[in-house]
Structure formats: structure tokens, C-alpha cells
Symmetry: C2
Subunit: 233 residues, 2 copies
Amino acid sequence: MTMHKEVGAAYGIKTVAIVKSLLENNDQIAAANGRRLAAAGVLAVNVIAGPGAGKTSLIIKTLEVLRAHARVGVIEGDIAGSIDTERVLAAGAADAVQINTGGSCHLEAAMVGRALERLELGQLDIVFVENVGNLVCPTHWALGEQMKLCLLSAAEGHDKPIKYPEIFAVSDVIVLNKVDLIELVDFEREQFYESVRALNPHAPIFELSCRSGQGVVDFGCWILDCLSKVRDE
Amino acid sequence: MTMHKEVGAAYGIKTVAIVKSLLENNDQIAAANGRRLAAAGVLAVNVIAGPGAGKTSLIIKTLEVLRAHARVGVIEGDIAGSIDTERVLAAGAADAVQINTGGSCHLEAAMVGRALERLELGQLDIVFVENVGNLVCPTHWALGEQMKLCLLSAAEGHDKPIKYPEIFAVSDVIVLNKVDLIELVDFEREQFYESVRALNPHAPIFELSCRSGQGVVDFGCWILDCLSKVRDE
């Protein structure tokens, strides 16, 4: 057996400088989005997950809990299509805007800025921003949100925090979805919590199943608490 | 209910030009990798999937089928860690190299070029290149492979080809993993096949479960057929 060998990445200085300048420009627009949301007293949540973790389902199920208590808008980021926008409106979102990134692997603040112009923020309490399905790229692109939510499906495996550490480290809340499958997929809860806690000691972690409904009310109530805090500031 | 509204992405001309030049540079290095693989008569497979679809498990299960018939090397692409390299070596890979991308969301041809230098290609028949878990970014970055494999887990849902069309369109083979969960996750087979076929009429589609082993031998035999074709060329 050969010993394992490692090859690091080497990027040119020019490439790094270009990316840095793009990110700085993005941060400025994100700050402006943040000021607009704060002025309207709206809580914005950036929902980040890989493909098929259940981002839209989480938004829909949470909407069902929240809609008697808060007016919820949704910004749907997808590479293509507008299925999700139709689904969230049918589930009772007060307003929704579709962003098609045209191939891009993450949302950027400028896209969200244009979407915010299309929403009547004065009529909303909470805005969920569903990012493109990707556990890597959205990490670095601030959108102006008050809260980053990292969503993982139990079917993806307990080792994901080790493989995609950055998103788990920077998130304000972590949601483990599809816990109805947890016994079927060799998901080791203890290892999952241990590796999340090593990266992020304080973010609340919710376990739920959008399919069975288990845990969704607890999560919805916590979001309402967060809204009160935003309004009290 | 508000009608759904759509916001397109707008990138600056300068940004597009920079990305195009990076991709062209990558294509040249990929072509050199491809020539090196062809000279050694090695079949290289670029394994692309979102987080937790089962890329490493597919490689390990296929290794178990192939190892009596072919010498298999693995290049493991991860943002961090070397767990997967240790796993594939323990499962019988003849050689393995870890690439840590240091945050990058996809492998690039230059990284794979450096990894190929560390493998003894003359001693190998097949090289699996496990890309970073991402259904978007790896699509555009050629590595020098003869074959792009797109892997989806049934738990991710039948609608993924509609949401991530490019990778399904450009792949040479599509593998649906975790079919042991298919009845538990509302996966609509007919809609899945319909949307894949609309994007990619001819790529073979394999259904399998790395957990139960179902379908893995068929897939391994097909890979051996592909190797014979590479050798006959």
C-alpha cells in the first residue's frame, strides 16, 4: 500500500487579487442591503445547503408555522427555473422574487439588492433568501443578511462538517433535516455534534424532518424570537 | 398572492473576460493531462456530485468489483482533510493522492496535473478523480478526464436535473445512488428520467445502492468495458 500523498492548491497572486476585489465590492453592496433591511425592521435569513438538503421544504414548513404570526417574503436563488417561487407562494409567502443566476454557483449581494427592490419590505417581517445549492461558494458572499443558516440532510452523512468546515464555522444556526432517515443512513450523531462544536461552539443546532414535521415548530418559534430581537435593537 | 417576479444576473464584461481566460488556461493544462493519460492507456473518470451523494462510497464499492481485473488509482479532491484517501487505500486502491483545494469549490487541471505526477501511471489502468462536493462549479473545469460521471443520491430528490441542468447535460454517465431509500423520499423515477433525457438523450444511467450493493457489479462491468474501448483506440 502506498502512503497517502498530498498536493496543495497554488493560485496565482493576480487571481487572488481579482477575487479579493470582487468580494470587497460585494461586501459594500451587502452592507447597503443590510441597512435597508434594518430600516424596515426585517429579519433576513441566508439559507445555505448542498443540493437536495431541503432548503425549499424548510422554508415552506417554517412558513406554515410562522404565517399566523409574521409576514414572510422569500428570495429564491436558482441556476435555472422558477418552480420554488411558485411553491413558496402557494404555501403562503406574502411575497416572493426569483433570482436566476444563469450558471453562477452562489448569490451575490447585487442580485439580492435588485430582488429587495422588488419586495415591499414595509409589508414584511422576515425574508428567507434561498441560496444556490452549494455548501462551498455561498460562504464567502455576504448578502446583507442578519443570519446565515447552514442546512444539512442526515442522508448527506455526519462527516460533512469535517469536509466543508467553513460554512459550519461561520453559520449562526445549523439545521439537520431528514432526521426521519437517520437510522437508515449510518449517521453518527455524536461525531456530527463533536465536529460541529469544534468549529462553532455556540450556534444553536435544530434537528427536524420537513417530511414528518418533527421539530419544525421549535425551529419556527426560535425564528420568531430572533425577529423580536431584531425589532428590539 | 403576488405574481412571481424574476431578477436576472448581470456580470460585468471585465469579470466574464477574466473567468474566460482562466478557463482557457485550464483547458490547455487539461489537454496535456489527457495526453499523458492516453499515452499510459489509463481511463480517468471525473466523479462529480453534491456533498454526501456518495462519491467516495461509489469509488470504494466499484474498487471492490474491479480490483481482481484492473489496477485502480484515486485522486481525492477535498477542501480539507485526507480521510477519503485513507479509506480508498484501505479498500484496495493501488495508489492514491490527496488534493486539498484550500477552500476552492472545484478541482482544476493544474491540481490534477500535479497529482498525476505523484501517481505511477504505468502501473495503473483506471484513475477515479473525486471532485469537491459541488454540482455546479466542477462542470466548467476540464481535468483531462475521458469521462465525466454525475452522481446523485435519491435523497436529493428527482428535481435536481431541472435545477442543475448543466452537469446532467455534459456528463458521459449518470449514477443514481441510495436507491434503497427511494420509497422513503418521494423520489419520482419517471420525472427524473424524463428531465435527464431532455438534457442528455444518450448517457447511460445506473441505479445502485453503495449501502446494499445493489447494482454495483453492473456499473463496475460497464467501467471495465469503457477501459477496453480506451485501450482499443
